[in-house]
Amino acid sequence: MAVSTKSSPPPPRRRRWNSLQAREARLAWALVLPTALIVFGLVLFPAIFSIWISFCDVTLKNLGDVFHAPFVGLKNYQGVINDFAFEWQGFQSWGAAVTSVVYSFAATILTVALGLVASLLLNRPFKGRGIARALFLFPYVAPIVSVAFVWRWILDPRPSGVLNDVLMRLGLIDLPQAYLATRGLALVLVIIFEAWRYFPFAMLMILARLQALDATLYEAAEVDGATTLQKFWYVTLPELRYVLGSIFLLRLMWTFNKFDDIWLLTGGGYGTNVLPVLTYQFSFKSFNFGKGAANAMLLLLILLVFLIAYVRIVMRDTEEA
């Protein structure tokens, strides 16, 4: 701190305890302590604890006494890896691991792309831009339960479902389709839903960066005779590189971890079973908490692999640049 009050020097030991710096540090710890305790107690400790659970046999019977649960080594992990719901079984049944990866990458790419388009759109001055920006945030702030159920209702398999009605009127389909109960199509729709819901997040971040861009860059490009497309490609995009990269990483992590969206849309059926939903099924449907924890640890492990790969690629890129 820049403030230092000089008082007459007290005896050495008490000075250290009583010095302004020491008092400030104690105050600082007192201020962060409640937050630190809650985050440690309900996030960090449970996270470490779940490593232990994943090596133990924990069911409903000994849930109240986990610390004495029998240690079973890698049995839970073997159980998960050999489970037909987890493992790749060929193109008819991808298994949760592969589905998770495909789902997260596709949804994240689509989210960032839509967010980029939306932010370029809202960066142009026009009447009513403020209200448009607020409206664009709706999918992101509305409760997941509401929007998931509206989408299910729009995609309803009966002829009275909106999508069925529209497509039949247009003559694109003859019979009503069960969109969320068709393998393949269900996964595509879940990915589209994800992009619909989360593109405003990407949009906000990109918009903030776009508005901080230096206008002289564009003026220079115009002097050089650049077209709109060229300006976007050679000026805007390079300037957005880092913000796009960090949004991609954040959204990839969160999409990979997401339970609610798929659970509410398909319940994890019809080729949309992802690792978080599978974790739920192991833990709270078959009450095999050890296996659930092992599955969650594998999820985290896959995520970490992507994180490390990403950091390495980004690091290499910055070194080259």
Binding site: V32, G64, I154, V162, L204
Partner: protein
């Protein structure tokens, strides 16, 4: 954008496309089309939710969808709120439960994160970097991974100390705090750093204590950030599904999301009731956002809000 070359008005007859071509450039045209596309895609589901909530059971169950309800029928809302209705859902108690969880979450989160954020932004102490990094790790862990150990841990603690972990709204508030505090702390700390230190130093020299400085100087200057943090934490607790889904079993304690899920999964489907309940749950959030949009956009970008 390239400015169009405006030709002086002539009497020749123009069709609509030629007319448009004179008024706007190609890029303006693409922008308008894209904007319309986005607005329909975003707003139609919300229109469909609200309009479906005002339909009768006959309109909702017909062979063809009813795009515009014949009248504003309150059948669905009666089912939710009218005790005399044969399918009475007692949705009021769910609304109250949700408020009981989300308001304390917002208040406590703002209070605790203000204290923590001030320490992080202004005070020097050992272990600050470690603390900040370990708090950020929260971003990495999926909720579903944490719920198993939390469940096991609290079950043990609960049987020792004599409290229930299921159907306990206090437990729910604590788990929401754990999810929201890190982001709230980051958002506020970022904001506090933008407040000039000199103002605080002046107050310190005038003889205020640190806590007085926070209360009298920093907080009044940080009101926009405090508003966005409280709305953000409120929104997370209001919308939360997974933890409530696992921790609540008694119908009387259900929060709105769990109740809506229950109505949806009822053996006899009643979509108009689901849509009415969803409308009720969505409206407050959407209105909060529309009215406080400017604060919130700033806040959301500052913290990289998790969702």
């Amino acid at each position: 954008m390239n400015t169009h070359k405006s030709t002086p008005c002539s009497d020749e007859k123009l069709n609509i496309f030629e007319h448009l071509a004179r008024r706007m450039s190609l890029w303006d045209f693409i922008a308008v089309i894209t904007l319309i596309f986005f607005l329909i895609g975003i707003l139609f589901p919300f229109y469909w939710m609200t309009s479906s909530s005002f339909k009768t059971y006959a309109e909702i169950g017909g062979r063809e969808p009813t795009y515009i309800p014949s009248a504003l029928r309150l059948d669905a809302y009666r089912e939710l709120f009218d005790p005399a209705n044969e399918h009475f859902q007692d949705f009021m108690s769910n609304i109250i439960n949700t408020i009981k969880v989300s308001v304390p979450t917002a208040v406590i989160a703002v209070f605790l994160s203000t204290l923590g954020a001030y320490a992080v932004a202004r005070l020097k102490f050992k272990g600050k970097e470690f603390l900040l990094n370990s708090i950020l790790v929260v971003y990495l862990f999926p909720g579903i991974l944490l719920i198993i150990p939390i469940f096991a841990m609290l079950a043990q603690l609960g049987s020792r100390l004599g409290f229930e972990i299921q159907d306990n709204l206090v437990i729910l508030i604590l788990t929401y705090l754990a999810q929201t505090l890190p982001v709230a702390l980051y958002m506020l700390a970022n904001y506090f750093r933008t407040i000039p230190v000199e103002i605080e130093q002046a107050a310190l020299i005038d003889g205020c204590s640190r806590l007085e400085v926070i209360w009298r100087v920093t907080l009044p200057l940080a009101i926009p950030a405090l508003v966005s943090v409280s709305i953000y934490t409120f929104m997370i607790a209001w919308n939360e599904f997974l933890y409530a889904f696992i921790f609540l079993n008694q119908r009387e304690l259900f929060t709105m999301p769990i109740k809506i899920n229950t109505i949806f999964n009822d053996p006899s489907p009643r979509p108009h009731v689901v849509m009415a309940a969803s409308t009720i749950m969505t409206m407050p959030i959407v209105f909060l956002f529309l009215s406080l949009e400017r604060f919130l956009t700033e806040g959301l970008t500052a913290g990289g809000v998790k969702g």
